[in-house]
């Protein structure tokens, strides 16, 4: 009996050893990296703790008239702020800021015409005074309609009008005011692209030929400027500029409103990071 048992014991040891070797091999060959999902919290760029409420006042808009960019932008931002920020969103009529800027400009020009000529005592003879150049600039008619970034530029002075924004702030009990400009323009371009053509050769075999052709593409550009104003003082707290574009093939008939939302979808996360902590999801590799 004992003689029989001996070889079995030896066999067990061999099997055990092989198992140990396999286990060691598995350990040695275990992956040296691990993919792991992470959520990166992005701290807000603005300290909004002094505010309980936010007023998305309106935007100076320009470009294509196919989309009412003022209404759509206000509506979209208000809905995003309601769901993704702790601030209470004020429901108010959307302000026609382009018109307001033009009216302010006209009033400033009228006041300058009515008031006596200002004399800058510090300036030398013949040198144009600062006051004179300011009033000349203010007196210039603002471009209407706003077609491009150059047309939009003079409207920017509205955001620096602290007295006006302070007055708006008082009206709504000192909220954080969100305003700015939105330029949504059509764009068309021609690009050189490589196109693949399939054909059957003389022997019936499939061939792929590459052909470089000019392709007409059209789409839209969205140029946004978000201005965050302290409703208590009327002063600008922070300005955020963005530019996004999208192009489709000329045959594709994409509605302007769809393109507008597609482009805004790219900008909204950045807009929100100004006001509240956002989490960006991603994957990273941990190494052993």
């Amino acid at each position: 009996m004992t003689e029989r048992a001996r070889p079995k014991k030896g066999l067990n040891l061999v099997v055990g050893s092989l198992v140990a070797i396999c286990a060691a091999g598995t350990l040695a060959c275990s992956p040296s990296y691990f993919e792991i999902p992470i959520e990166t919290p992005i701290q807000p760029k603005l300290d909004v703790s002094p505010f309980q409420r936010v007023l998305v006042a309106g935007f100076v808009t320009g470009g294509t008239e196919e989309v009412d960019a003022n209404q759509e932008t206000v509506r979209l931002l208000r809905s995003q702020l309601r769901s993704k920020s702790s601030l209470r969103v004020i429901d108010a009529d959307v302000m026609p800021l382009a018109e307001i800027t033009r009216n302010q400009n006209k009033s400033a020009a009228d006041t300058d015409l009515a008031s006596p000529v200002r004399v800058n005592t510090n300036a030398g003879a013949g040198a144009p005074s600062q006051g004179a150049s300011d009033s000349a600039r203010a007196g210039q008619a603002l471009p209407m309609p706003i077609k491009d970034e150059k047309d939009m530029e003079p409207y920017g002075r509205l955001f620096a009008n602290t007295a006006y924004w302070k007055q708006i702030g008082e009206e709504y009990q000192n909220p954080l005011i969100v305003t700015g400009s939105v330029l949504f323009m059509e764009r068309s371009t021609q690009n050189m692209v490589t196109r693949q053509n399939e054909r059957l050769d003389a022997f019936g075999q499939r061939r792929v030929d590459e052909e470089r052709v000019f392709l007409d593409r059209k789409g839209y550009v969205l140029v946004n400027k978000f201005v965050f104003i302290d409703g208590r003082t009327g002063a600008t707290m922070y300005t955020d500029n963005h530019k996004e574009d999208v192009l489709y093939s000329a045959q594709q008939n994409m509605p302007a409103l769809s393109s507008y939302f597609e482009l805004m979808d790219r900008l909204v996360p950045n807009f929100l990071t100004a006001l509240s902590t956002q989490k960006v999801r991603g994957t990273r590799v941990l190494l052993k």
Binding site: A23, G25, P41, T236, R284, L286, L287, K288
Partner: protein, 119 residues
């Protein structure tokens, strides 16, 4: 004879498979491994503590700095994450995975911070 062979095979298996805990790198590797285990269970603070220990134990061990950077990134400590990524890429400049992590980090950081413009 069979017993001897079996014993030698088992010994070889143990020697080749067991981590070299005796040296510093081995200790650092053990901390890194534990850190990965806890990070996979969502315990990121504990993971960061382990990777910090690993980086202290072996300041030339690139994976410790890479993982530490990922941990800091997850906790929103962006400046610390950047420093750890830079250290990891300096230690292992050819490691594609570290470089990929760092590129993704920079992409988020630049996207959320570059357009910033204070009046």
């Amino acid at each position: 004879m069979i017993q001897r062979i079996a014993f030698l095979l088992a010994l070889a298996a143990i020697l080749s498979g067991a981590p070299a805990y005796a040296d510093t790198r081995g200790d650092a590797q053990a901390q890194v491994k534990f850190g990965i285990d806890v990070a996979q269970r969502g315990l990121w603070r504990e993971a960061i503590y382990r990777w910090e220990r690993a980086a202290e134990l072996d300041p030339t061990y690139a994976p410790a700095f890479n993982n530490l950077a990922v941990g800091y990134e997850h906790e929103g400590q962006m400046e610390k994450a950047r420093q750890a990524y830079e250290r990891a890429t300096t230690l292992a400049p050819k490691d594609l995975q570290i470089r990929q992590n760092y590129e993704l980090f920079k992409e988020i950081h630049d996207r959320t911070g570059a357009a910033k413009e204070r009046p």
